[in-house]
Amino acid sequence: MLNNNGASSGYRPQLFSSRVWNPSVSCGCGGLHTEGDKAFGDFLSDEIKEEQKIQKTKTLPKMSGGWELGLNGTEAKLTRHFAGDKISVTFNVNNSIPPSFEEEAEQGQQKSAAAAEEEPEMVSSPNFVVEVTKQGAKHSLVFDCHYPEDEMSHGEGEEESDIFAIREVSFQPEGDDEWKETSYTLGTDSLDWALYDHLMDFLADRGVDNTFADELMELSTAIEHQEYIKFLENLQGFVKCN
């Protein structure tokens, strides 16, 4: 029977060694720094410079219509009051950039150098939740909205979708962050379109229209880019151990 109680005194080769293999860079912090880390840090430094170069402005674009902006990390909240109604719009910039549908060049066709260098502009189009609260009411009317991903707009055909669309509507307890699943939720997939249009007009009357949706994309894109640069800076600090 093999002795597997760990009491053997003989040398036993280990598959995973805990010994650091030749760290070539050190800063005295006691952490691991490799040549790879150094290259990674240099890469990040260049990347941050490039991103800062294309950053349009350090300040975030303003929304028209008297919306106030509050930020909590990657989550943004816009609020305004309209004749006794409180309207708030929340969105999160995480995972808000849809994948590029750039079609691969067909065989035998080569893109021009200029076209190949031209990168598509990243646009953040997050889902957003509109909450309308009447004065003194216990429940808010909540609209789950999104920017439809229009397959047609990636090809040569005409764009067919609205700029933004309502996905679901529900009454939710006022000020509650959690979505209460037991509240009736009106899906818009098979909804009477006249009712859908009234809901869209209701939102437009409260400042949530195509102009708002367009400006929200611009704002979200700027926040996302700002957060990306912050992340790169944190990553650089973490890797380089400044």
Binding site: E158, E159, E160, S161, D162, I163, W193, A194, D197, H198, M200, D201, A204, D209, N210, T211, A213, D214
Partner: protein
């Protein structure tokens, strides 16, 4: 599906419910309420682009129609064999263009959109205004539609085609 309404522009503040109700009324007047119609609202830039692509006219306009049935005799309703043929086609409304006209002539935007949509539906039903005879025939149809619309709604809308032109 009925009326598929899309608002692709942000220049003009539209009342979607009002527009849908007006288009529905027009469909009922013409007896085509079983047919789907696409209404796509666009700005000057977009309608100019479409006008240029499909009609080689590089200017914005008020309405462009894309019939599902291309060779209809004016006034004859299509005879679809399948459900997916219950479709008259799409109407692109140049809402920015219409709004500017309304501002110049102090007209109500949604009244004007009803008039241009009536014109667009006539095109989907095979009416043309390339010749004097076609123009007369189309004007008569538009007059009938809007007279009925006025009777039902109490409004006072006039047909779009006051003069014979080939611009739309």
């Amino acid at each position: 599906m009925g009326v598929v309404l899309r608002n692709l522009q942000k220049v003009v503040s539209l009342r979607r419910a009002r527009l849908r109700r007006d288009v529905d009324t027009l469909r009922h007047i013409l007896g085509v309420h079983k047919f789907d119609v696409g209404i796509v609202c666009v700005d000057n830039q977009k309608i100019q682009q479409i006008n240029h692509t499909y009609r080689k006219k590089n200017v914005p306009t008020d309405v462009l129609s894309f019939p599902f049935y291309e060779d209809l005799r004016p006034g004859k309703l299509p005879c679809p064999l399948h459900r997916d043929e219950l479709n008259l086609g799409d109407i692109f409304l140049g809402v920015e263009f219409v709004m500017k006209q309304c501002q110049e002539e102090s007209l109500d935007l949604h009244d004007a959109l009803t008039v241009v949509t009536a014109h667009g539906i006539c095109h989907l039903l095979g009416y043309r205004h390339e010749t004097e005879e076609e123009w007369t025939e189309m004007l008569q149809r538009e007059s009938y539609i809007l007279t009925e619309y006025n009777r039902l709604t109490g409004r006072h809308l006039q047909p779009l085609m006051k003069t014979c032109d080939h611009d739309r």
